[in-house]
Subunit: 203 residues, 2 copies
DNA sequence: AAATATAATGAACGGTGTTCAGTAAATGCA
DNA sequence: TGCATTTACTGAACACCGTTCATTATATTT
């Protein structure tokens, strides 16, 4: 009975067509300025059709977020390759910051934007779990070797993620203009901050 | 010629009436869900009137942000009173985190929300300068006494602010659920993170 | 009291997310 | 094969949104 399977496949293709268009437009124009009608136009379907595949605009955002977490995880896997766990931690930190600088709109979608329609914040626990686990694993190695000052691994992860997220998100919201000289290269500055921080938490 | 002065006064009262209503509704319902029409209704004026006092919805947001920065500065002044600059820095950090936890909607308005109408990010340099200066001043004292590991004060401010902002904003976006045990008190956890961080950057 | 200047209105414009009765295409059954 | 039924899609309609502007009401000046 291959018909049901084909239907399922076609349905998945349709869903992907929608999210691909949505991702493209979210990145180019931002989430708020992208309307369901725009997305529908770009894939040459009527607005109503999108609602046959996604419950609402938020669900579309969640799907795009899921894909974005995947991209970040890929960047981690490709770039955090050092054998030394401390070095790898530094690579992770810089990869994270670079990801935020290179994909500001994507970073916004992933961590900053609040989907304004249904203020239901339940989804996030499942989304991005793998990516976070990658950091935790590296941290575990560091702490097994007593390379960091931390005692509690959860608190360590919290602190490190907060630091890099703070750097990226303050920059994205132009809050660094107050303190960083305009002529300085932001990337360089943020990398220095990461290095200095890692220096500080070394055992 | 007291008439012009009275008119100016009345105008200011009107502006304040609008921002007061706007602040209340932004906090209760969020920025996105608060419409100009709602605000107009709540002060019993027509929507068009608001545009006689504020250029657009963003300008309303900027004004509310300005007031919010004032509130944070007040909290700083009231709570960061220790003579010891290092202790004062810890007080500042905890005050900041507490402010973010106690006024999540306000914090959102100040640091996270991107005003979506005119993507003009120029205003922020003036807004909040005083509040930031308060932190820098404390930092300066710390560094004059060689109490911190930092060499560059700008980089120090960047790092510290990033840490506390990261803690608060990840929590606000429910991204801590992945790593912090649900039963634990968030405030306690974030305070511990601040303490541990300050420990790490001590000279 | 009349003319002028200021303040406020609210309908209208072009958008938004979302729903749903109606239509067209694909499938199951005889 | 032909017909009934399920499935896919449409696009007008609903209730909103931010913003503008001709019109009206109020206050000041002459």
């Amino acid at each position: 009975m291959g018909i049901a399977e084909r239907k399922e496949r076609v349905r998945e293709e349709m869903k992907q067509m929608i999210t691909t268009a949505a991702m493209k437009m979210f990145l180019e124009e931002g989430y708020a300025k992208t309307s369901i009608r725009n997305i529908a136009d770009s894939i040459e379907y009527s607005p109503g059709t999108i609602y046959l595949y996604y419950k609402d605009k938020d669900e579309l955002l969640y799907e795009v977020q899921r894909q974005a977490y995947g991209k970040l995880l890929e960047a981690f896997k490709a770039g955090a390759v050092s054998k030394d766990p401390l070095e790898r931690l530094e690579q992770l930190g810089k990869l994270y910051v670079a990801f935020g600088l290179d994909n500001p709109e994507l970073y916004d979608l992933m961590f900053i934007i609040r989907a304004p329609m249904n203020v239901d914040e339940k989804l996030h626990q499942s989304n991005g779990g793998d990516t976070f686990a990658f950091l935790v694993q590296c941290l575990e190695e560091c702490m097994k070797g007593n390379l960091l000052i931390f005692k509690d691994i959860q608190l360590a992860a919290l602190q490190i993620w907060s630091m890099v997220h703070g750097l990226v998100s303050l920059n994205l919201r132009c809050r660094l203009k107050i303190m960083v000289p305009v002529d300085e290269d932001i990337r360089f500055t943020l990398f220095r901050a990461v290095e200095e921080y890692l220096e500080a938490i070394r055992a």
